[in-house]
């Protein structure tokens, strides 16, 4: 059983659903500790005052917001907390939207919600009702000293929570300029490309594709631990294709 990151309550109308928040995604990127090569000792990061060139205790460190060049407004930690929003551990669900209407580009981080100590029936009810309606609950909550917009939806038998990006954080497609081709692809070309898509069709099985880079790093570590010398793979860069139709046809023949 994993440890919960946060305990709180989902509030819908006058219904309270006690929940526990869990990590759903954890990076498996190989992490290293910094060490001093000379003696293998731990590296510590210490804070220094840039002016006085001396180490300062953390209690003397404040957060400053730059309002002009070199001009800062200093905020105490509890003043930042004051802006964070309602400190209560409550996710206020305000509306329900069709889950499929939300472009996943809005999802920032994903968490799982488990039922809290009391009110397991309310959890089950919310889960089942969301599943039946195909909707996600939208609401705000304060977590780690900032307020988030969250979407709550059924996910793999439990409730999942996504923290969301706000509209002005999502880059609209129009901002990415596209150079138009002199003429649109012909019907024949689209058909041919459709066949190419078809020839490489498969269903999504997440476990099929592994993190090769992670494996390479771990293998290197293992070789090193065993006192062997690492070696590296090589690949050739492809060339640009001049004739679209010919390339599509050649790909199709190769793909079959």
């Amino acid at each position: 059983m994993p440890r919960s990151l946060w305990n709180g309550t989902i509030s819908v109308g006058v219904i309270a659903v006690p929940v526990k928040l869990y990590t759903a995604v954890e990076s498996k990127t190989v992490r290293f500790r910094e060490v001093h090569l000379e003696d293998g000792a731990k590296i510590e990061h210490r804070r220094f005052c840039a002016k006085e060139e001396k180490e300062v205790p953390y209690d003397d460190v404040v957060k400053g917001f730059e309002v002009g060049k070199g001009k800062f407004v200093v905020l105490e930690k509890d003043e930042i907390a004051a802006a964070a929003g309602d400190p209560a551990h409550v996710i206020d669900v305000e509306s329900f939207v069709e889950t499929t209407a939300i472009d996943p580009v809005f999802y920032a981080k994903t968490y799982y919600l488990g039922a809290g100590a009391k009110g397991g029936d309310a959890y089950r009810l919310l889960h089942d009702a969301l599943e039946r309606t195909g909707r996600a609950g939208l609401g705000r909550f304060t977590f780690h000293n900032r307020e988030y917009l969250a979407a709550i939806r059924p996910l793999d038998g439990v409730l999942g929570l996504h923290t969301m990006h706000f509209a002005d954080e999502v880059v609209p497609g129009e901002e990415i300029e596209l150079a138009e081709p002199s003429k649109a692809p012909t019907k024949q070309e689209v058909e041919m490309a459709g066949k190419l898509v078809g020839s490489l069709e498969e269903s999504f099985s997440p476990g099929k594709r592994k993190d090769r880079y992670r494996k390479a790093v771990l293998d290197m570590i293992e070789r090193k631990a065993a006192g062997k010398k690492p070696k590296a793979p090589r690949e050739q860069p492809p060339e640009e294709s001049p004739d679209l139709m010919a390339a599509l046809e050649a790909s199709l023949q190769g793909g079959k």
Partner: protein, 274 residues
């Protein structure tokens, strides 16, 4: 137009399209600097050897990886560089999968791809791939190398462009096994009532209705502090308690929702509490 983060070519079959990569999200958060309170000077981080108590330069620092047996292996930058994937500068499409089979949980960071260069062929190939995927309801699965890391990505249509999204690997997604899924299956009458409540509180997804109030309040706090005013933290509300009678709570909530007790897409507590 944002700055491209990467440039290379998108390769499917024998077709290669030179493309540039742009982030599809941008950070709008306010950023703070650490300052030394007595003199307001900036704080710098320095690396110290914990044993010798002396400052060390980056060249003197290695990366240690702790093995299961309690020993650790020290890895040098050169050794990491040796296993880093070759900068092939291509995004290789390996397969096309139905978009609706991928749970958004697997998506990590979203980007856009745009064709580069003056040649007409690649621009057409870009449109061709876009069209073919729009028609098939499938997205491409591929891999590419950015900086020193190899990413698994999906490429699919969004806003009339090709969007690239980096993906989580299957073993980075935790199992839901062991998570408490609550009580027993709800009775039909209860479930019907809950569905009716959800329907009553239904709205269209309109992202522009939800503003980042935290950012707004923080700007407000900075402004007031600048003018020398004091800022007080809000008091925490009591957490709502689970009710003993779910059915009665459902009915009360439904009646409230029908009276329009909640405005749709209001976007939450609008007043700054700070």
């Amino acid at each position: 137009m944002p700055r491209p983060l990467w440039a290379g070519s998108l390769s499917f079959g024998l077709v290669n399209v030179p493309v540039a990569l742009f982030s599809a999200v941008r950070d709008q958060g306010l950023h703070f600097h650490e300052l030394h309170e007595p003199d307001g000077a900036r704080i710098e981080q320095k690396r110290f050897c914990a044993e010798e108590d002396t400052e060390v330069s980056l060249e003197e620092i290695g990366h240690a990886y702790d093995l299961d047996d309690g020993k650790s292996v020290i890895v040098l930058d050169e050794e990491l560089a040796e296993v880093a994937p070759r900068r092939t500068r291509t995004i290789d499409i390996e397969a096309f999968v139905p978009l609706d089979e991928i749970d958004p949980l697997f998506f990590d960071h979203p980007y856009f791809l745009a064709p580069t260069g003056e040649a007409d062929g690649p621009r057409r190939a870009y449109q061709l791939l876009l069209k073919a995927m729009e028609e098939s309801g499938r997205v491409a699965l591929g891999r590419f190398v950015m900086r020193t890391k190899e990413y698994l990505v999906t490429i699919g249509p969004r806003d009339d462009r090709l969007a690239l999204t980096t993906m989580r690997f299957a073993d980075e997604v935790r199992e839901t096994k062991g998570i408490d899924t609550g009580g027993k299956k709800p009775a039909k009458a209860q479930l019907d009532q809950a569905v009716a409540l959800i329907d009553a509180l239904s709205a269209d997804w309109d992202p522009s209705e939800w503003k980042d109030e935290f950012r707004g309040r923080l700007e407000d706090v900075i402004e007031r502090k600048r003018k020398g005013r004091t800022i007080e933290a809000p008091e925490a509300r009591d957490e709502p308690e689970p009710v003993p009678d779910l059915m009665a709570a459902l009915e009360e909530s439904l009646a409230k929702a029908k009276r329009g007790g909640k405005k749709q897409g209001r976007g939450g507590r609008a007043k700054a509490r700070a």
